[in-house]
C-alpha cells in the first residue's frame, strides 16, 4: 500500500475544507498521513485526527509555520519525504503555491488539478480552460498532485481515529517574510463550497450595482461570485473570481447575472448541477450551458426574482 502525505491547509484554528477533498483523493491511492504544520495549531491536529480515512497525523508546532510560507513548508515536506510515495494538496492558492516547489526539490513531475484517479500513476485533468480532458500518467517513482476540490467529495470530519506524532521543524528561510493579509469579510458561505452561487459580470455596470446580486444571494443563502471582467473592472475583489484562473465552483445552483460566458468563465462553473443565466443578449454563449435562461434586463429581473423568493418564503 502506498504511503501518501497530504499537506493540511489551515489558519492555526481550523482545517480548511480543501484539505478534506484532498484526503478523499489521497485515500484512493494509499494510506493517508496528514501533515499539520502550524503555530499553536493543536486544535487543527486534533480535528485532523478525526477526519475519516486519515491513518496518521504529523503535527509540527513552530513559528516558522505560523503563516503558509511555501519555502518553509516545502523544506519540511522534503525533510519528511523518504517515508512517502506521494504528496497531495488541494488545488487552492495554498496548494498551487506549495506543491510545485516540493515537486521540483524532489525532482518529480507534478500533475496539477486532478479531477479523477484512474490508477496508481494515472489521473485525469483538464487542459485548455476545460476544453480538453487529458489522461496523464507519470513515469516518476513518486506522485506530486494537486486536487480539484469540486471533483472529490469532502472526507467526513468525524469517524477517524488517527495517531498523532510530532516532528521537529526545519530551519526557516530568511529569504522571505510574511507581512500580512487582507481578508474580505463576509457572512455569506464560502464560494468554493457553497450550495448556491450567484455571480455577476460586466453587465452589472458598477460595484454599487452588485447590491442587487447580494440581495438575491441573501434570499438563496448563496455565495457571491463574479466573472473576470467584473473583477478587472474593480466592481468586486479578486477573491470573487470564478473561472479558469480563479476559483472552480460546482454548486447545486449557479445563477449567472450579466455574464456573457467566455470560455475562461465557463471553465470555472460548468460542472454546476443547475445553471441559470440572466442576460439581455439572447446570443450570449452563457445560454449554451444554462439549464434555464431568462433574456432581459437584469436590473428588472433580479430584483423581481429576489422579491418573488421573499414572497414565497413568507407564504410557506
Amino acid at each position: 500500500m502506498a504511503e501518501i502525505l497530504v499537506v493540511a491547509e489551515h489558519d492555526n484554528a481550523k482545517l480548511d475544507k480543501a484539505t478534506l477533498h484532498g484526503v478523499t483523493a489521497a485515500a484512493a491511492l494509499g494510506t493517508v498521513t496528514l501533515l499539520v504544520a502550524g503555530e499553536g495549531a493543536a486544535a487543527v491536529a486534533e480535528a485532523a485526527a478525526k477526519v475519516a480515512g486519515v491513518a496518521k497525523v504529523v503535527h509540527v508546532d513552530d513559528a516558522a509555520y505560523a503563516e503558509p510560507v511555501a519555502e518553509n513548508l516545502a523544506s519540511l515536506v522534503v525533510a519528511m519525504a523518504d517515508g512517502y510515495d506521494g504528496f497531495v494538496v488541494g488545488a487552492s492558492t495554498f496548494g498551487k503555491n506549495l506543491m510545485p516547489r516540493v515537486a521540483a526539490l524532489l525532482d518529480l513531475a507534478q500533475i496539477s488539478d486532478i479531477v479523477e484517479v484512474v490508477g496508481p500513476k494515472s489521473f485525469k485533468r483538464y487542459i485548455y480552460a476545460g476544453n480538453a480532458l487529458a489522461t496523464v500518467e507519470t513515469r516518476d517513482a513518486k506522485l506530486a498532485l494537486t486536487v480539484r476540490t469540486t471533483a472529490f467529495p469532502a472526507a467526513a470530519t468525524e469517524g477517524g481515529s488517527a495517531s498523532v506524532e510530532t516532528v521537529q521543524a526545519v530551519a526557516p528561510s530568511d529569504l522571505v517574510k510574511f507581512l500580512g493579509r487582507e481578508v474580505s469579510a463576509s457572512e455569506r458561505p464560502e464560494l468554493t463550497s457553497a450550495r448556491v452561487v450567484v455571480s455577476g459580470g460586466r453587465g452589472m455596470g458598477s460595484g454599487e450595482n452588485f447590491v442587487i446580486v447580494e440581495a438575491l444571494a441573501d434570499q438563496l443563502g448563496a455565495a457571491v461570485g463574479a466573472s473576470r471582467a467584473a473583477v478587472d473592472a474593480g466592481y468586486v475583489p479578486n477573491d470573487y473570481q470564478v473561472g479558469q484562473t480563479g476559483k472552480i465552483v460546482a454548486p447545486e445552483l449557479y445563477v449567472a447575472v450579466g455574464i456573457s460566458g467566455a470560455i475562461q468563465h465557463l471553465a470555472g462553473m460548468k460542472d454546476s448541477k443547475v445553471i441559470v443565466a440572466i442576460n439581455k443578449d439572447e446570443e450570449a454563449p452563457i445560454f449554451q450551458v444554462a439549464d434555464y435562461g431568462l433574456v432581459g434586463d437584469l436590473f428588472t429581473i433580479v430584483p423581481q426574482l429576489t422579491e418573488a423568493l421573499k414572497a414565497s418564503k413568507a407564504a410557506s
Binding site: 511555501a70 519555502e71 487552492s92 492558492t93 495554498f94 498551487k96 503555491n97 506543491m99 510545485p100 516547489r101 516540493v102 515537486a103 521540483a104 526539490l105 513531475a109 507534478q110 494515472s122 483538464y126 487542459i127 485548455y128 480552460a129 476544453n131 480538453a132 480532458l133 487529458a134 489522461t135 496523464v136 507519470t138 513515469r139 529569504l175 522571505v176 510574511f178 507581512l179 493579509r181 487582507e182 474580505s184 468554493t192 473576470r228 473583477v231 478587472d232 479578486n238 477573491d239 479558469q244 484562473t245 476559483k247 445552483l253 475562461q264 460548468k270 448541477k273 443547475v274 445560454f287 449554451q288 439549464d291 434555464y292 431568462l294 433574456v295 429581473i301 426574482l305 418573488a308 423568493l309
Partner: protein, 253 residues
C-alpha cells in the same frame, strides 16, 4: 537590476480549441497563436520597472519551435531589450513539461545572472501553474506567486498576492521569482515604430543540449478527449416561470 521574463507561445485565448479525433492532443495547426496573456503582464511589469529606472535590462526568453521567435519579437516590441530562444521541436502544451522548462530556465538564469525573474502564473494551454515555483525551488530563491502588486524596497520586493481568501503580502529578498496574476497591470500594445525596432533587436539561439538539460517528458499524455458537453436548456419567459422550473423540475430551491 536585470530582469528575465520567460514568455510562452500558446493558442490565442479567443480560439475555441478542437480536440484531435485520434485522441493525441489539441489541434494547433493553422490556429492563431499568441503570447500567453499572463506572460504579457509579466513582460509589461518588467518594462515598467525599467522605465522607472529600477531595472537596467529586460531579457525575454522563450522555449519552443522556430515560430516561437514571433513571441519574442512581440516581447521586444513591447520594450524588452533582447531575447533568448531555446529551440525545441517538442509540443510545448504536452511534451515539454514544467519541470523541464524550469530546468532550462535555471540554466539560463545561471548564464544571465538576473536579479529578478518575472513570469506568468500559468500558461493557458496546459493550465499547470507550476514553472515559476519549480524554478524558485531549483535555484533556492524565494517565490512570490500570483502577484497583483510589486514594490521595490531595500534589498528586496514587497509583493501583494491574490489568494483564495483575499490578499497576502510577502517580502522576498532578491534575487527572487515573481509569478503574476491578472490584476498586476494592463499590458500595452506595441506601436508600429516599436514593432519595426524590435526586428533589429538580437535573439540568441540555444538548444536544450547546449544547456545540458534533459527535457524528456516525465508525464505521458495517454489520451486527450473532448469533455462531456453540457446541453443547452430552455429559455423561460419570466420570473414566475423560472421559479416554477427551479422548484418543480430542478428541485434546487
Amino acid at each position: 537590476m536585470k530582469i528575465l521574463v520567460p514568455v510562452k507561445r500558446v493558442v490565442d485565448y479567443n480560439v475555441t480549441v478542437r480536440v484531435k479525433a485520434d485522441g493525441s492532443g489539441v489541434e494547433t495547426a493553422n490556429v492563431k497563436m499568441s503570447m500567453n496573456p499572463f506572460d504579457e503582464i509579466a513582460n509589461e511589469e518588467a518594462i515598467r520597472l525599467k522605465e522607472k529606472g529600477a531595472a537596467s535590462e529586460v531579457v525575454a526568453v522563450t522555449i519552443g519551435e522556430a515560430k516561437a521567435q514571433e513571441t519574442l519579437r512581440t516581447a521586444m516590441a513591447m520594450g524588452a531589450d533582447r531575447a533568448l530562444h531555446v529551440e525545441t521541436q517538442a509540443r510545448t502544451d504536452t511534451e515539454l513539461q514544467p519541470l523541464a522548462v524550469a530546468k532550462l530556465l535555471q540554466a539560463l538564469v545561471e548564464r544571465e545572472q538576473p536579479d529578478l525573474v518575472i513570469m506568468g502564473k500559468q500558461a493557458i494551454d496546459d493550465d499547470s501553474n507550476q514553472t515559476g515555483q519549480m524554478l524558485a525551488a531549483l535555484l533556492g530563491w524565494p517565490q512570490a506567486t500570483f502577484a497583483s502588486k510589486i514594490e521595490l524596497v531595500e534589498g528586496g520586493l514587497e509583493v501583494t498576492r491574490e489568494v483564495d481568501a483575499g490578499l497576502e503580502k510577502l517580502w522576498v529578498k532578491l534575487p527572487a521569482i515573481v509569478t503574476v496574476d491578472l490584476r498586476l497591470n494592463e499590458p500595452r500594445y506595441a506601436s508600429l515604430p516599436n514593432i519595426m525596432k524590435a526586428k533589429k533587436k538580437p535573439i540568441d539561439k540555444l538548444t536544450p543540449e547546449e544547456l545540458g538539460v534533459d527535457t524528456a517528458p516525465r508525464l505521458t499524455y495517454v489520451k486527450v478527449e473532448e469533455p462531456p458537453k453540457r446541453q443547452a436548456g430552455v429559455k423561460v419567459a419570466d420570473v414566475p416561470a423560472l421559479l416554477d422550473k427551479l422548484k418543480s423540475e430542478a428541485g434546487v430551491i
